[in-house]
Amino acid sequence: MITAKYVLERLAHSLLILLVAMIFNFLLPRLVPGNPAVTILLSKYGYLNAKELKVIESQFHLTGSLGQQFESYWISLAHGNLGVSYYFYPLSVSAVIAERLPWTLFLLGTASIISILIGVSLGTYMGMKSGQIQDSFFSTLSISLFSIPYFWLGLIFQAVFAVMITIFPVAQAYSYGLVIGPNIPFIFSVLYHAALPLIVLILTIFPVFALLMRNTMTTTLREDYMTVAVAKGLRSWRLVDRYAKKNSMLPVTTSIALQIGYVVAGAFLIEVVFSYPGIGYTLYQAVYNSDYPLIQGIFLIISASVIFANFFVDILYAYLDPRVVLK
């Protein structure tokens, strides 16, 4: 049973962490030696200008005492105002993020769902064949895939399937000259452009779930109630599906739910490799152009999504395994 007390306790915990992330976001530019406005101006233009300095100082809430600065930081946050991007000027940071976030959600969301389906099925199979040749083959394969740096695999797929054999586009999310919207050429172009990054992401995400599922499955199959179920003469698919898989899914659920948080934070570098216009590539552009408001805005959005996902995991887990609340 999920009690209201439990939910509130978890919520308070998540909000506390979010608060820390926000305070960190506020303090970071102020902890760096020197005036951050000067640093930003110099890295952006290479010279100082009194008027520009004033603008940046007020934008970064750098005027007044630290207390006043903190107050104005909170007031803008409460209004959803994350400042103005330098690189995408005159767009605001929130506008840039709102434009780019859907691409990441689409790419990572699709990759996560397919990876989870493949991973859980393969893991179940490996668990059933535990200790046999099939198990060691897929375990080795999974560990190897898991150890590959995904952005490097991305570069290789790009080289092989987009440069050497030109069957997939090299980069971007859709071809130029198309009407953006729900029309068939555009949708086809989006899917076609997403194919390579998707394959790379799936190849490196599914092993995590496969290995985890395999381990919990092996442990579950050794439980006494499984022996009883076999002795009762249950058919084997029922045994696996209803008895073993259901119990093994519990720890896997945690990582599935955490994967939801990493849909936003997970795979920046794949977007960089394929110049895919999601949040990761935007962060890359922001770093490259010293667009500090954008860097910090993206960090805050990502932190908030991951913290929220964690909260969701806690509640979900308590629902699936009520023993958690009692502890």
Binding site: S144, S147, F151, A159, T219, L283, V287, S303, I307
Partner: protein
């Protein structure tokens, strides 16, 4: 016999040796059984080769890893086993030297983070109460805030040197380890020999160093291997993002320049493959060694079920 000599109360040097000898006494059977286990043996061999390559690369490379002394994009030949890159640097020399740099970064992060993680974990577990609550809340926060974005934000404000990369990675790598160490310390604290030491009036610091720390050694080793592997991968990712010292030669910067100079259009596979294979082998080696280690120590099953 030596045991008696070493245990004689005296200089701190003696005490250090007694601690070390107790440590190695416990480690020797562990090492031999690690060699018996096929998984950890292959892990040790893979990691050994990489470390060997890195050490050699630090002392000797066929050509200078920095000097752009040859023609651009030469494919592999007997003179240049792995060809040359966009500036005409010898890729094999870069790879050998870069292996050393990458491993050095990983190892430095591993040592720093393990020290922080162990100290925090032992202190939180041993003292309990307020220090425990305070430290573990802090760990919770660090564990939940997504690592790679935090790494990027921190690095974007710091000077782009390998030192700052090492420091930032060390700061971000210890929390998980401290949690594991803490829970082990909690159960060790209940053991009778710790009670005995307490009753005999041993100081808390001594109890932690002599009674608790030696038993944590296997856990520390397992976790630091993961930290080292994670740090090498993270450094490569950070460099690929352009946020490390990009003039340094390591696996990450090799990939960064490949991407930045669009080596892909020159189909320079000889330049792209080595650094990624290096990272991959490190990951496989580390995982194999850790799997073998967990099997040998007998807590593989327990770990995986949680």
């Amino acid at each position: 016999m030596t045991e008696v000599q070493l245990k004689a109360p005296g200089s701190s040097v003696n005490r250090f040796f007694s601690f070390m000898s107790r440590g190695t006494d416990r480690l020797r059977p562990l090492l031999s059984s690690l060699w018996q286990n096929p998984k950890s043996r292959s892990g040790i061999i893979i990691l050994g080769c990489l470390v060997g390559l890195g050490v050699i690369g630090g002392i000797y490379t066929p050509y200078s890893p920095f000097a752009p002394a040859f023609a651009d994009y030469l494919p592999p030949s007997w003179a240049h086993l792995l060809g040359t890159n966009y500036e005409g640097q010898d890729v094999l020399s870069q790879f050998m030297y870069g292996t050393g740099t990458s491993l050095l970064v990983g190892f430095s992060v591993g040592v720093l983070a393990s020290i922080i993680g162990t100290v925090v974990g032992v202190v939180a577990g041993y003292y309990g109460k307020i220090p425990d609550t305070f430290l573990m809340r802090f760990v919770d926060v660090l564990l939940v805030i997504p690592g790679f974005p935090l790494l990027i934000v921190l690095s974007s404000y710091l000077p782009p040197t390998l030192e700052s990369t090492i420091i930032v990675l060390a700061i971000l790598s210890w929390p998980f380890m401290s949690r594991v160490i803490r829970s082990q310390t909690l159960s060790l604290k209940q053991k009778q020999f710790v009670m005995a030491s307490k009753l005999s009036g041993m100081s808390n610091l001594k109890i932690m160093a002599r009674d608790i720390l030696p038993f944590l050694l296997p856990l520390i080793i397992i976790n630091s291997i993961f930290i080292v592997v994670g740090a090498v991968v993270a450094q490569a990712g950070l460099a690929f993002f352009g946020l490390s010292d990009i003039s340094s030669v390591n696996w990450g910067t090799m990939l960064y320049w490949f991407e930045a100079e669009e080596g892909i259009l020159f189909k320079a596979w000889w330049w792209l493959l080595p650094p990624g294979i290096g990272i991959m082998l490190l990951g496989i080696g580390g995982n194999l060694l850790n799997n073998g280690l967990s099997e040998t120590l007998g807590f593989g099953e327990k770990n995986s079920s949680r």
